[in-house]
């Protein structure tokens, strides 16, 4: 019942990966489809400013923008930053410059990468042009990067169009949606209370923590009493047996879950705990599970956590003994 010394912190890799599918409005659709066709479009405001990349609204007036124009695939660096150590998924794997480029015909700048031999080859005001990706799908990455135009770079193409020229934004087979892939890698550490709980499970014990103020025992512990708002520190071994306080019958098979349906998922108040935890009930037909049923854990083969709970064979608990925990 005393605070044990903290075990070495547990850690596990945690990967968060999600493809966000996003619909494009008419302006973004035209811009990204244009990139696929090696055409750069901007949006012209009523004041005559050309935004590249284009927005659907005027950043100064919030007025809706629909007036598309074509600008040149070459322009001027307005600011830059030399990236010696490219990070995963950035546009180039070799050292490169991040640049903001104002394309000829545009009044605002586009962020991208500039392929240059080193920081001495980059300066604000230098002329650059788009290097198109070989495979283009209608995404900002259809621009592989920028490359210098001038003595060091390939000969500059004639600037076409010389200034922003009207464009109807229409292309065959327009891109209307993009998928923004994201993957972030974390190392998860559960912290003191949950770490101690997980460590105890490896020894086939379930520990909770007692609130020093209201004396309630929480399991699994999170480190604080949600009623009193104070830290819980005293560890208490609870169970192993407990009482089903409420349950439901699951009829839908979850993906990657090797359990026959129907099965019962229940709230189980372990003996000595003041909060029910949840778990699957096995070893009894699903339609014979009931409130008050006494159960005990059946551990997984690797003994890391209870796989499910099965009846102990004891008489059912009286409703009054667990009614506060339903």
């Amino acid at each position: 019942m005393t605070a044990a010394p903290p075990p070495e912190a547990l850690r596990a890799p945690l990967v968060v990966e999600f493809p966000f599918t996003r619909s494009l409005g008419p302006v973004q659709s035209a811009f990204l489809t244009g990139l696929r066709e090696r055409v750069v479009l901007g949006a012209r405001t009523s004041g005559g400013t050309v935004l590249v990349p284009p927005a659907e609204y005027d950043p100064a007036t919030a007025e809706e923008l629909r007036d598309l124009v074509e600008v040149a695939p070459a322009g001027t660096v307005t600011t830059w930053a030399w990236n010696d150590r490219p990070r995963p998924r950035q546009p180039l794997a070799t050292p490169f410059a991040w640049v903001l480029v104002r394309l000829d015909g545009a009044d605002t700048a586009l962020l991208h990468a500039l392929d240059a031999p080193g920081p001495d080859a980059v300066r604000t005001g230098m002329r650059v042009r788009i290097r198109w990706a070989a495979e283009r799908t209608g995404a900002i990455t259809d621009i592989a990067c920028f490359e210098p135009v001038g003595p060091e770079g390939p000969e500059a193409p004639p600037l076409h169009p010389p200034a922003a020229a009207p464009h109807d934004g229409r292309f065959p087979d327009p891109v209307t949606r993009i998928v923004t892939e994201a993957r972030l890698d974390y190392t998860h550490t559960p912290g003191r209370a949950q770490g101690a709980h997980l460590a105890a499970l490896r020894g086939r014990r379930t520990v909770g923590e007692r609130c020093p103020s209201c004396r309630k025992v929480y399991v699994p512990p999170r480190g604080a009493c949600p009623t009193c708002g104070v830290a819980t520190t005293d560890r208490v071994v609870v169970g192993p047996a407990g009482t089903v306080t409420t349950f439901c019958i699951v009829n839908i098979k979850a993906r990657n879950l090797d359990i026959e349906v129907p099965y019962v998922y229940a709230h189980i108040a372990l003996d000595g705990a003041d909060l029910p935890l949840h778990g699957r009930i096995g070893g009894i037909p699903y339609d014979q599970v009931r409130m008050g049923l006494r159960v005990e854990p059946v551990w997984t083969a690797d003994g890391r956590h209870p796989d499910h709970y099965r009846p102990t064979g004891e008489p059912d608990a009286a409703y009054d003994s667990y009614k506060e925990l339903v």
């Binding site: 930053a81 030399w82 962020l111």
Partner: protein, 352 residues
Amino acid sequence: MPRHERDIAVVAFAQSDHRRRTDDLSELEMLLPVLDEVRERTGLRARDIGFTCSGSSDYLAGRPFSFTMTLDGVGAWPPISESHVETDGAWALYEAWVKLRTGQADTALVYAYGKSSPGSLRDVLTRQLDPYYLAPLWPDSVALAALQARALIDAGDTDEEALAAIAARSRADAAANPHAQLAGAVPHGGHQVRPLRTGDCPPVGDGAAAVVLAAGDTARRLCGRPAWITGIDHRIEAHSLGVRDLTDSPSTRLAAQRAGLFTAPVDTAELHAPFTSQEVVLRKALRLGRSTAVNPSGGALAANPVMAAGLIRIGEAAARIHRGASDRAVAHATSGPCLQQNLVAVLEGDRA
């Protein structure tokens, strides 16, 4: 000075010791001592707080609805009046200020926390960018700040030497701050993303902070010298980086004007400038002169727990008023790339 009938003050502030990693603690466990400290300082128990508001981010934690885990620390059962912002806690403080201002509560607890150690912060922060034109390129936070720094150098607003001096001054001041992660003489280091060197960038770390706000006579009862919030406002820049003049921060200037900053001098400025170059922009926008002590705490260059660092600026400014080291201070918080969003608060202490 005439005041509105619902004057609101910061009456207590606490923060954790900011550390590179806190593998041994959950977010809640990192936060609890901070909550205990402000409650002890005011004598308020969890049940006495009228409104609670927090700031944090799921992307730092790598888990959805991660803020719900810390609600245990404020005694959220039976239900309390509570809210959350998915950004820096300075914006949670703004929400709490509105709640008190409109008379819906007399006291508010505001807290914020961030653990950057489980992930790679530079990569995580790319996910807050525009998903169409920016996020697919994974431009990291240091790279974007470096673009801004280059623009400032090109404009003649600063140079690498002046930036190094900002870093050195901040970390020297942080030697007097027991919570700082990076203090004293710190090597300026090599280029991270040129022109920014390691020393121009904030440390990456874990930390938490909490502030208690109170209205009128309640504030006077809870605190010997309340730090009255005489003005607070927040503004945002245009969405696209290429539309903005990166050498200026009109949103900060406008927020400062709305908060009443320019009506009288301030002796203290706590600026949320994670990069040295951003202090140059903010000094200009806030028209700070030599008579103002800028970031006497060391600022975000000494400790930058993401999602809490802005709230800490308000807390540090208030704490100086509490202990009589300041009479009129400005606190600034930012969020997003290159000072995208900016909040400015003016705090004043009663004069003897």
